[in-house]
């Protein structure tokens, strides 16, 4: 669901850069304060995992495609700010190496996927984990994909209203909310089921590895 370059008006992405820049600075400060060397290898592996997941396009009904993100894993294992920084780095690499997502849209993609998606996943996990770790992981995975889809649908849907020529023709993206909301939410609600299952599976594997209980 990365938004490519050319789809978003400057009056949206420029303030987004300012907001994301400030939040990246906050994130880096918190990361440095909480950094523990023993977590770095796992963080590197999970960030690499998120990078791979985001390059795999999964066909969904309707002829479009979506991708898993690994955001819930990063948020649940390392916290929201570390998740935000890791996902921002992944999105930057994807834009530079694959042309997936854009440079002008980087802050929007990072804020939606890394920060909002991560925060939603961490919150759901914290609330539900007391009752059931399994349910907490499944739902945090699901919400880590649907919240960013909702936010990006709003960002795309508002483009025709805020950026159009004198004759009303849209300058950047032509579809409004009535199109973008179902177009993004429905496939990602489906994909979120897979993301939830993946979050549960990988979390359990990482947990076992950390406790040294992997046989072989």
């Amino acid at each position: 669901m990365h938004i490519p370059d050319g789809f978003i008006a400057p009056q949206v992405y420029l303030p987004a850069y300012a907001a994301a820049g400030g939040l990246w600075a906050v994130g880096i400060r918190r990361f440095r304060k909480r950094l523990r060397e023993e977590t770095l290898p796992v963080l590197a592996a999970m960030t690499g995992f998120a990078f791979i997941l985001m390059t795999i396009a999964v066909p969904v009904p309707g002829g479009t495609s979506a991708h898993a993100s690994g955001v819930a894993l990063l948020a649940v294992l390392f916290g929201v700010w570390t998740c935000f920084l890791s996902v921002s780095l992944v999105l930057l690499l994807q834009a530079l190496l694959f042309g997936v997502g854009g440079i002008t849209t980087l802050p929007l993609n990072a804020l939606a996927l890394g920060l909002a998606g991560g925060a939603a996943a961490a919150f759901v996990f914290r609330v539900l984990n007391r009752a059931s770790e399994k349910a907490a992981l499944l739902l945090s995975g699901w919400i880590s994909v649907t919240v960013p889809a909702f936010l990006l649908a709003l960002v795309l849907g508002v483009q025709p209203r805020i950026a159009h020529a004198a004759d009303g023709s849209p300058l950047f993206f032509p579809f409004g909310f009535s199109v973008t909301l179902p177009a993004l939410l429905l496939p990602h609600a489906l994909l979120g089921i897979g993301e939830g299952a993946l979050t549960l599976l990988v979390y359990r594997i990482v947990g076992r590895l950390r406790k040294g209980r992997v046989s072989g």
Partner: protein, 147 residues
């Protein structure tokens, strides 16, 4: 007298009907060399039946608009050799924007091949692990200085 009046009325009626001829849609057939640009997702699935716009470089009014065909292709006949901007977009925000040189028998150009995609994936992973390696190095030096 009545016949002249009727003849005049008939002529007037015919004259009034002449603008209607402007609404007739005519056609002529021709052959030409088309430019074909195919769009597809990373897995090879065509970007089919999605909206597109073709622009001459520097112009804001599209030269051609439409929907990609079943194979995800945009097909147009450039009226001159020039730079052409093509935008394709779907309702869920997928799409691409590129500039090509077309018209005048310009040579075809393709995105980098799939094998190169795996090399870029490995390069990205290598970069990521390198960044975390540097962070680890930085952390150790900081700990050594403070410890």
């Amino acid at each position: 007298m009545i016949r002249r009046a009727l003849a005049a009325a008939l002529l007037l009626a015919l004259a009034a009907a002449l603008p209607a001829a402007a609404h007739e849609v005519l056609h002529e057939e021709a052959t030409g060399e088309a430019t074909v640009v195919r769009f597809f997702y990373a897995g090879g699935v065509p970007f089919s039946y999605e909206s597109y716009e073709v622009f001459r470089a520097g112009e804001t009014i599209p030269y051609q608009t439409g929907f990609t065909d079943a194979e995800g292709r945009v097909v147009f006949l450039p009226d001159r050799e020039a730079e052409w901007g093509i935008r394709v977009f779907s309702e869920d925000g997928h799409g691409a924007e590129l500039t090509i040189t077309a018209g005048g028998g310009a040579a075809p150009r393709a995105d980098r091949p799939p094998v190169d995609r795996y090399a870029r994936l490995l390069a990205g992973l290598g970069f990521l692990f390198g960044v975390f390696g540097l962070i680890s190095l930085f952390y150790r030096r900081r700990s050594a200085r403070s410890g």
